[in-house]
């Protein structure tokens, strides 16, 4: 998804830009030895390592699996993938009419709807607290909040599993308050909640760091000027902080939406998609189908996911792009 991101933001100097605009505009009229042509070749040379890696590890596999999603390939043909029949859109129709996939789609959207706002709001509040409120030990707090991002998700999920068993420490703590603890892994709704808690815990650090960077880029003069004009804290937050944070908010919300649409590790490690399939995301569905030998179906499923991610990212860019 980095490609969509960098291209549409038009950010200068980002690796995803296919070629520098300055070269593109004029290169045709230049001869081999002209300064422009040399510059163009140098430009290509610089982006070559990226282009080669991108082709090898992204473009070719994506194109191949896209092609496979229009065939009837099963695990029987994986050693000889050309010995398959072309079946048009059959796989996509099958996948979209599969109740398990529909359920996974819905589950994924529920994860996005819960996790993205939660991560954004908590991350923003923490960033605000670190930026203006907390003076002492600021860097310590920042590090502590960021630890879940770098923590090993497998280890975290194993500990989580133990902590949330019916008679585990979490429920023991809840019961000491005089309330019966929920059945975290047996009740579908609580299992979804559990996956949400783990994923949000894991992602607020990223949100916090990005918001913090955005907050620190807001010039202090604006606040000084507005306070001279008699604006209070809320007023300046509404009229200065939030508008100037728009690009950051866009970036964070797109990053988080893409991450949560692709959610895999948390349900895979924590619940295995259960109970009763209630936490099976699209990515997990795709992985399972591949394991079952349904290669074509899993490819079709992953393309539907890719399409969904693309559409959602596009919509977000439209809605949240800077207003001039």
């Amino acid at each position: 998804m980095s490609l969509t991101l960098t291209r549409t933001t038009g950010g200068a100097g980002q690796a995803g830009s296919p070629r520098p605009p300055v070269v593109r505009a004029t290169s045709r009229r230049r001869s081999w030895h002209s300064a422009g042509a040399v510059q163009s070749r140098t430009g290509w040379l610089f982006v070559a390592p990226f282009l080669i890696l991108f082709a090898l590890f992204t473009a070719i596999p994506v194109a191949t699996s896209f092609a496979m999603s229009f065939t009837d390939i099963r695990s029987r043909e994986i050693r000889n993938p050309l010995a398959v029949d072309f079946v048009g859109f059959d796989n996509f129709i099958d996948v979209l009419s599969d109740p398990t996939f529909q359920r996974a789609l819905l589950t994924t959207l529920v994860f996005v709807a819960l996790c993205v706002p939660l991560s954004l709001v908590i991350g923003f509040v923490l960033a605000l607290a670190l930026d203006t409120g907390i003076r002492r030990l600021r860097s310590t707090f920042r590090a502590v909040i960021y630890v879940p991002v770098i923590a090993n998700i497998v280890a975290a999920a194993v500990i989580w599993q133990y902590a949330f068993t019916p008679s585990g420490p979490v429920n023991t703590a809840i019961e000491s308050l005089g309330v019966a603890g929920p059945n975290w892994f047996g009740d579908p709704a609580w299992a979804v909640a559990n996956v949400v808690i783990l994923s949000v815990w894991r992602n607020i650090g990223t949100c916090m760091v990005l918001f913090l960077a955005g907050l620190q880029a807001v010039p202090n003069e604006l606040y000084e000027a507005s306070s001279l004009d008699g604006a209070g804290g809320l007023r300046s937050a509404w009229s200065i902080t939030l508008p100037l944070l728009r690009p950051t908010t866009l970036l964070v919300s797109v990053l988080m939406t893409v991450a949560f649409l692709n959610i895999f590790e948390e349900p895979y490690l924590l619940t295995g998609g259960g109970p009763l399939g209630s936490t099976r995301s699209i990515a997990l569905w795709v992985y399972e189908q591949f394991g079952f030998g349904n290669v074509a179906g899993s490819m079709a499923g992953s393309f539907i996911l890719l399409l969904l991610v693309g559409i959602v990212a596009l919509v977000q860019f439209r809605v949240l792009r800077p207003k001039h």
Binding site: P18, P21, A63, A67, R76, L82, G291
Partner: protein
């Protein structure tokens, strides 16, 4: 939002590329005749050389290096590298390796993995004359046979007994169960005596739960698939009867759909929070590690699984086979190691190391095994063994059945309705022919 002009062109290029690929693919079609299996090459008796890359799943791998040492004493010019692959990911990782062509030289395929993985055509037939197929238990040898061709050399086999806390049973004044009624009465008595969830059945609900249910189904005279493997028989009346019994164990709180999870099996049985479960013979070794050999001898018994309502006996059998991928770099040495592992003295040695039972039938007559009273019920159970439905779509259907069972265990569906629905889904998936 400047520089938007490159987009249409990039898009066109991408579309053109995909279109070209599609044309290439459309040009090819499914071959009418299946690819000829490579003719098995004879393996000589010369010492193995080169490097053998081995993939093994589960707990076996931890003890395997002892066998490598023995093999290397006889074959000094051989190197062995082993990678332990997590059991849950084995099929997906192996499938990916086969499609990429970068495969190990030798893999140990659990019985449960074989239907899906052998269907890829990614494994070589067992070279003729490598081993004597008549020496192995039929269930063990047949597990890797597809269309009359064997693709693996059996290593070990087992039946899953019912592992029971005899001390708690005696203390509660219960009878050791021999049939379903006895099992229920035993569980009720133990629960009255303070054992929280007397029965520990396989959770979370996955294809292993379905295999366990297949045992109950066979005890009732049913089974998940027809004998000739041509059709799913999931909503067979005998299966419904089995699921009614199985579901009632949950409904009455004698088993729990939430606890204990895999990693708690040993501790729950040791601490008396549960008092019985169906598991493999290696489980005894885990109990010895967690407690002591004396404790296990005094308090634990391995018995044949309680029989069904009309005396139907059945036990889950499993094990696995050594298999060599078609693209293996060193198949010669790989097959030699597989042959080495099937030699009677090494079969016995592995039993002594790990407690896994020989797949070679004659080794069961060795005094170490023949005189071991603990193993007698397991040997008896192998003769009534139920193995995994040997079709490539089992992995997927196993999950479908597991979900039906989970709905029953959680009281969300009636057995008949759940199995009818699973049957419909399984028919849509097919048997993979």
């Amino acid at each position: 939002m400047h520089s938007r002009s490159p987009r249409p062109r990039t898009f066109m290029a991408a579309t053109a590329g995909i279109a070209a690929l599609t044309v290439v693919l459309a040009g090819c079609g499914r071959a009418d005749a299946p690819e000829d299996a490579a003719s098995p090459q004879a393996i000589d008796d010369a010492p193995a050389t080169g490097t053998i890359e081995i993939w093994a799943a589960g707990g076996d791998g931890e003890q395997l290096p002892e066998m490598f040492d023995l093999f290397q004493e006889q074959n000094p010019d051989v190197e062995i590298n082993m990678t332990q692959v997590p059991e849950d990911d084995f099929v997906a990782k192996m499938t990916a390796a086969i499609s990429g062509g970068s495969v190990p030289d030798l893999v140990y395929l659990f019985t449960e993995f074989q239907p899906t993985l052998l269907d890829t055509g990614g494994f070589s037939p067992v070279p003729s004359g490598l081993v004597d197929d008549a020496a192995f238990f039929d269930t063990a040898w047949d597990a890797s046979v597809v269309d009359g061709v064997a693709y693996g050399v059996p290593w070990y086999t087992y039946a899953r007994p019912f592992i029971i806390r005899t001390d708690l049973t005696e203390a509660a004044g219960a009878e050791v169960p021999t049939d379903w009624d006895g099992l229920r009465a035993w569980a009720e008595t133990l629960q009255d005596s303070g054992v929280e969830t007397p029965l520990d059945l396989v959770i979370p609900f996955n294809q292993y739960t379905s295999l366990q249910f297949d045992m109950f189904a066979h005890q009732a005279g049913g089974g998940l698939i027809s004998d000739d493997l041509s059709a799913w028989t999931i909503n067979d009346p005998a299966n419904v009867e089995a699921l009614e019994f199985w579901g009632s164990l949950y409904a009455d709180g004698l088993a729990s759909p939430d606890e204990p999870v895999t990693m708690d099996w040993v501790s729950y049985l040791s601490s008396g929070r549960s008092a019985g479960l169906y598991n493999g013979p290696w489980f005894r070794g885990w109990l010895v590690d967690a407690n002591s050999a004396e404790w296990v001898d005094e308090n634990i018994a391995l018995i044949e699984p309680p029989a069904g309502p009309d005396g139907g006996r059945a036990a889950q059998v499993g094990g696995g086979n050594w298999a060599v991928p078609v693209d293996a770099a060193n198949p010669d040495a790989a097959w030699k190691f597989a042959r080495f592992m099937s030699e009677p003295e090494n079969q016995l040695h592995w039993y002594e190391i790990f407690g896994n039972l020989p797949a070679v039938e004659s080794v069961w007559d060795e005094p170490e095994i023949a005189d071991n009273a603990v193993l007698a019920p397991i040997r008896d159970s192998i003769s009534v063994g139920v193995t995994v439905p040997k079709v490539p779509t089992w992995g997927e259907v196993g999950e479908v059945v597991a979900e039906a069972m989970e709905r029953v265990a959680r009281g969300q569906a009636e057995p008949q309705e759940a199995l009818d629905q699973a049957q419909a889904q399984a028919e849509a998936i097919g048997v993979g022919d």
